[in-house]
Subunit: 242 residues, 2 copies
């Protein structure tokens, strides 16, 4: 599963939360140096994932949580009837695998949308040091709570029954999430296919494609393949309100 690249200075990438760009977004946020060190110690490894490779499969036993370091992933569940539903797209600093806790097994699969890397956190050890480091416990809860908030945004989006409102809301929420990472709010690089996006939004891919066209004609965005530039944030927001 881990992809080693001997030509690369692994030590720089693999170790030390203290030097990670995401430290203020991730578990170490708010901890002092000594406690960051303790988190650092339980990170089992920092795995690289190629595009399309799977971090975990639905049904496999739960051992660890993952925090995304770079790249992006999608989570998806398959119903008994074989219907696939994409549950979310996940960006750096976000925690993954939490829905497995209740049942001891992963409830969905996670797949890399581009070359990505994640930090693996064996749950047994995380649990142990959470009890010892109160600030970590709190920050962990915040991350999980943030995931839940993202899920609620997703639901609110699926609730709109104008298709164009869904797409507008999606773009708006992606833009908002990008800013959490310190990236530009107006320049999005979508890493998922139109088919993935359509599934996520509860539409078919042709509709999504047409709607990108419509939003562009309206002067709200500029589309070039998966590169999206937001030209009129307010206008986009109002389209999102049906």
């Amino acid at each position: 599963m881990p992809v080693d690249n001997p030509a690369f200075d692994l030590d720089q990438v693999r170790r030390h939360c203290a030097r990670c760009d995401l430290r203020d977004l991730c578990l170490p946020a708010g901890l002092d140096a000594a406690d960051v060190e303790r988190v650092d110690d339980i990170v089992a490894d920092r795995t690289s994932l190629a595009t399309g490779s799977t971090l975990y499969h639905a049904g496999s036993p739960f051992r660890a949580l993952y925090v995304i370091k770079t790249g992006s992933l999608k989570t998806q569940a398959v119903s008994e009837g074989g219907e696939l539903q994409i549950l979310g797209f996940h960006l750096p600093g976000e925690i993954m695998g939490f829905d497995a806790l209740a049942g001891e097994r992963h409830q969905c699969s996670a797949e890399a949308l581009e070359a990505s890397s994640v930090c693996r956190l064996p749950y047994a050890e995380l649990e142990r040091i959470c009890a010892a480091v109160p600030g970590l416990q709190r920050q962990f809860m915040r991350l999980v709570s943030r995931e839940m908030g993202d899920d609620h945004d997703h639901m609110a989006m699926m609730g709109r029954n104008q298709a164009i409102a869904r797409l507008a809301l999606f773009l708006h929420s992606m833009s908002k999430r990008q800013t959490r990472l310190g990236r530009s709010a107006d320049q999005l690089t979508l890493t998922m296919s139109r088919a993935d996006l359509a599934n996520y939004l509860g539409l078919v891919l042709e509709t999504v494609s047409r709607l990108f066209g419509r939003l562009q004609e309206m002067g709200l965005i500029e589309v070039r393949r998966r590169e999206i530039k937001i030209l009129d944030r307010e206008g986009l927001k109002s389209v999102g309100e049906c």
Copy 2:
């Protein structure tokens, strides 16, 4: 907010997780008697809620989590454009308020669908004893994880674009959740209005009403107002698969 009824033996209802029917579903699950006692001690109060009354409002500061003891509630969020989205229906044993942790404020409102009661868990104290009681920490995580799983079920439902599949999936998942409570799997008493249900499913209420009719004609369920009897579980399941 708390409704006192002096004719009722409060002590029996209000205190003692040890005697609660939900103890195996709720936070005390898996704890020994001494630890259950410690959980008991931090339960600030066991509040009664009348139909339509609000447990917490979106935007209000976060202080406590709640576990439902009896009855049912809905959570809903209002977008900036004033659009309302029902995020979930919540049954006894489920934990509420968790999505507020990330932002210090409640992100959605919670309203009782019928006469209900909840146990209030001040978060600061819960955090404190979670660190001290490892089994509690774990069970707390399980409850939160279960909430997340329910949210994912909701998304999978919204993803189906056949309206009748959504309703069938909803009925199926409610039935499943009922069984967690030891209730009959085939007899549902819906506590939400058709309008609430429609909003939850991303449909309009007329459509929901017609679909109940369709499912009844198909011999899969029996509808009488909000009382639903499931006649053909397998058939219902296959309708849910589009």
